[in-house]
C-alpha cells in the first residue's frame, strides 16, 4: 500500500504540469479565562492536571455549560472573516477513542457552525491580493496533552506508554475551514504562509487569542492536491498535520506539491491520507489512511441547548471589531510616507506597533524607522530575540532623538547610550550625564584637537587644500580619538575649513 516513492519533482517542473488546490483547517485557541464547557482555568504552563474539573474528565453525571465569552469571541472571529453568523446553531458529539479525550468524544459543531460563508483577502509580499473563501468557523474544545515515554525522543513510534495532562482538555477552540483554494499556482506555498499569518494576525488583533504558534494557540492542517493543468476535477488530497509555524506551512505545501507530482508522474495515484510534518527533515511521512476510522458518528449534544443569535447581539459585537489589520497597514503606510519596500520590511520585522507608538510619543516617521529597523534590529539579532522582545520603549527613542537634535550627542554615542539603557543604567539623559557622554562643544578643546590633527597629517592637509574635500574624513579619526568620539562631526568639519582658510 501507500506511496511508495520518496521521489520529489522539482517545484517549477511540477507547476508546469499541475495546478495545486489547497485547503486549510486552522485551529485557534481562545484566551478566555475558563474552558469552553467548564469553569476550570484556561491557562498555559500550569502544573499537570491542576486545571481540571469533573466536566473535563467526563465523569458520570456531569453537566457541561457553555462559556458565553467563548461564544462571543467565536462570533467576533466569524465577523472578522466576513462570515454569515448562524441564527441558530448547536453542539454535537464527535465520537472517537483516544486518551487525549477522557470523554471518548469531542464536543464540537457539525452541520450548523456558528459562522459560515466568509472570505479573507490575503495580501502577498508583492502586494497582489488573493481572496480565500471561508467555508465555516465552528466552536469546539481542545484535547489533553499526551507525552509519549520511552522510544525515541517523545515520538509515538516505539513509545512504551503515554502520560496524559488534561489541563488543555476543554480549552475553547475555533476551527476555521477554507473552501478549496484554486488558482494560486506557483504562489501556493507563499499563499499558505500568508493565509495562516493573516488568521494569526486577525485573532491577535481581536484580542480573542494569544495567537502564539509556538504554544499551539494557532495550529494548521494543510490540504494539498494536484490536478493536471486546465482540469476542473480536483485530484486526491492529503492532509498534512502538525504544521505549526509559518515557515513550516510554506515548506509543507511546497513539499507535498513536489511529492504529489512525483507520485503522479510515476503513474501511481495519491492515497487519501493524513501526513505528518517533520520540521527536522522538512518532509512529510505517511500517517493514517482516511477510512472508516473517520466514522465519528456525530450526533447532537443532548446536554447543551442551541445558541440563538439576535441581530442586536451581533451588531453589538460588530461594534467591538477593531480596525482590520490590512486596513490599518494601508492607513499607516500612507500616514508615514514610507516607500513600498521600506514598509514591507517594517511589516516583516513585526514592528508596526512599536513604530506607531514611537511616532505617537513624538518622533518623526523617518526617525522611528531608522531606530527600529537599524540599531534596535541589530541588537535584537545579536541577542537572538524578537525586536519587540528587546524591551526598548518609544520614550527612549524620542529622548535619544532629541539629544541628537540638541547636538548633545551624535549618532554613534546615541547607539552606545541605547545599549546602556538596555543594560538598565537609566534613561538616555541620565546615562549621558552619568557617563559624561555629551558631545564636546568646547571650541577650545575642539580647536586644539583639530590643530594637532593638521600638524600630524601634512599630506592630508595638502590634498584638502588642493580641492579634495573628502580628505577631511582622514582628519576626523584623530579628532574623534582625542575627544573620545564625542565631537560633533559637522562642527569639526567647519573648524577644519576655517583653519585651512577654505
Amino acid at each position: 500500500m501507500a506511496n511508495y516513492t520518496d521521489e520529489l519533482v522539482d517545484f517549477d517542473v511540477a507547476l508546469e504540469k499541475y495546478d495545486p488546490v489547497l485547503g486549510f483547517e486552522v485551529h485557534v485557541e481562545l484566551n478566555t479565562k475558563t474552558k469552553m464547557f467548564s469553569d476550570a482555568p484556561n491557562a498555559f504552563g500550569d502544573a499537570p492536571n491542576t486545571n481540571v474539573t469533573p466536566v473535563d474528565l467526563g465523569l458520570p453525571g456531569v453537566l457541561p455549560t457553555v462559556n458565553k465569552t467563548a461564544v462571543e469571541y467565536s462570533i467576533l472571529i466569524g465577523l472578522a472573516l466576513n462570515c454569515q453568523i448562524a441564527e441558530k446553531c448547536g453542539f454535537a458529539r464527535k465520537n472517537y477513542f483516544y486518551p487525549d479525550t477522557p470523554k471518548n468524544f469531542q464536543t464540537s459543531q457539525y452541520d450548523d457552525p456558528i459562522a459560515h460563508d466568509g472570505y479573507l483577502d490575503i495580501e502577498l509580499e508583492d502586494g497582489e491580493v488573493f481572496r480565500v473563501e471561508i467555508e465555516r468557523a465552528h466552536m469546539e474544545e481542545d484535547a489533553g496533552k499526551l507525552t509519549h515515554m520511552g522510544g525515541a525522543a517523545g515520538r509515538i513510534q516505539g513509545a512504551d506508554y503515554s502520560l496524559v495532562d488534561y489541563n488543555r482538555a476543554g480549552v475553547p477552540l475555533v476551527e476555521i475551514v477554507t473552501k478549496p483554494i484554486v488558482g494560486a499556482g506557483k504562489r501556493a506555498p507563499e499563499l499558505a504562509r500568508a493565509y495562516v499569518a493573516a488568521i494569526r494576525e486577525i485573532v491577535k488583533n481581536l484580542g480573542v487569542s494569544d495567537a502564539k504558534m509556538e504554544r499551539g494557540n494557532v495550529r494548521c492542517d494543510a490540504n494539498v492536491s494536484l490536478m493536471p493543468k486546465g482540469a476542473e476535477k480536483f485530484g486526491t488530497r492529503t492532509e498534512t498535520k502538525n504544521v505549526n509555524s509559518l515557515r513550516a506551512v510554506e515548506h509543507a505545501v511546497r513539499f507535498e506539491i513536489e511529492r504529489h507530482a512525483a507520485v503522479l508522474e510515476s503513474g501511481q495515484s495519491i492515497l487519501q491520507e493524513t501526513r505528518h510534518w517533520h520540521e527536522d527533515t522538512r518532509s512529510t511521512t505517511s500517517g493514517r489512511p482516511k477510512s472508516d476510522a473517520d466514522d465519528y458518528r456525530y450526533f447532537p449534544e443532548p446536554d447543551l441547548v442551541p445558541i440563538v443569535t439576535t441581530a442586536e447581539w451581533i451588531e453589538e459585537l460588530r461594534a467591538r471589531l477593531p480596525e482590520p489589520p490590512s486596513e490599518r497597514r494601508k492607513r499607516l503606510k500612507a500616514e508615514w510616507g514610507y516607500a513600498d519596500k521600506e514598509f514591507r520590511d517594517v511589516v516583516n520585522a513585526g514592528v508596526l506597533d512599536e513604530i506607531e507608538a514611537t511616532i505617537a510619543a513624538g518622533a518623526s516617521a523617518a526617525v522611528a524607522r531608522k531606530w527600529w529597523m537599524g540599531e534596535i534590529a541589530r541588537l535584537a539579532k545579536a541577542a537572538d530575540k524578537e525586536i519587540a522582545a528587546l524591551g526598548v520603549t518609544p520614550q527612549t527613542i524620542v529622548e535619544l532623538d532629541s539629544l541628537i537634535n540638541a547636538k548633545k550627542i551624535n549618532d554613534k554615542i546615541a547607539r552606545q547610550v541605547l545599549e546602556y539603557v538596555l543594560a538598565g543604567e537609566g534613561t538616555p539623559s541620565e546615562i549621558v550625564e552619568k557617563r559624561s557622554l555629551a558631545v564636546v562643544n568646547d571650541e577650545g578643546a575642539l580647536g586644539k584637537a583639530v590643530d594637532d590633527a593638521i600638524a600630524a597629517m601634512p599630506d592630508v592637509v595638502e590634498k584638502i587644500k588642493g580641492g579634495k574635500l573628502q580628505a577631511i574624513g582622514a582628519l576626523m579619526g584623530p579628532v574623534m580619538k582625542a575627544t573620545r568620539g564625542q565631537a560633533d562631526a559637522g562642527r569639526v568639519r567647519e573648524i577644519v575649513m576655517e583653519k585651512l582658510g577654505l
Binding site: K33, T147, D160, Y161, L163, P289
Partner: protein, 98 residues
Amino acid sequence: MSAISREDLVHLARLAHIEMGDAELDKMTGELGVIVDAIASVSEVASSDIPATSHPIPLNNVFREDVVGQTLSIDEVLLNAPDSDSDRFKVPAILDGE
C-alpha cells in the same frame, strides 16, 4: 426489514472498541434492528415542516459567565485512574493509526 446488517454491527463494535463473538453478533443484529425499527416509526408521524430537534424543551442560550471556579485536587483527578505517574494519567501507547 431491519436497517442493521451484521456487517454494520461488526463495524460499530470495532468503532466502539467492543469485542463481540459470533453468537453475540447474531443476537445483537436482531435486537439492534428492532430498536432501530422502533425509532424509525417516528418518521412516520413527523412531517417535513417540523424541524428535527434534539431537545424536548424550547430552551436557548443557556450560558455561563467566564469566571474561574473550583478545580479538583490532583488526588481527586487521579482517583479513578487505572494507572498514573506522579501527576499524570498513565496510558498504554496507542498508535494514531499506522
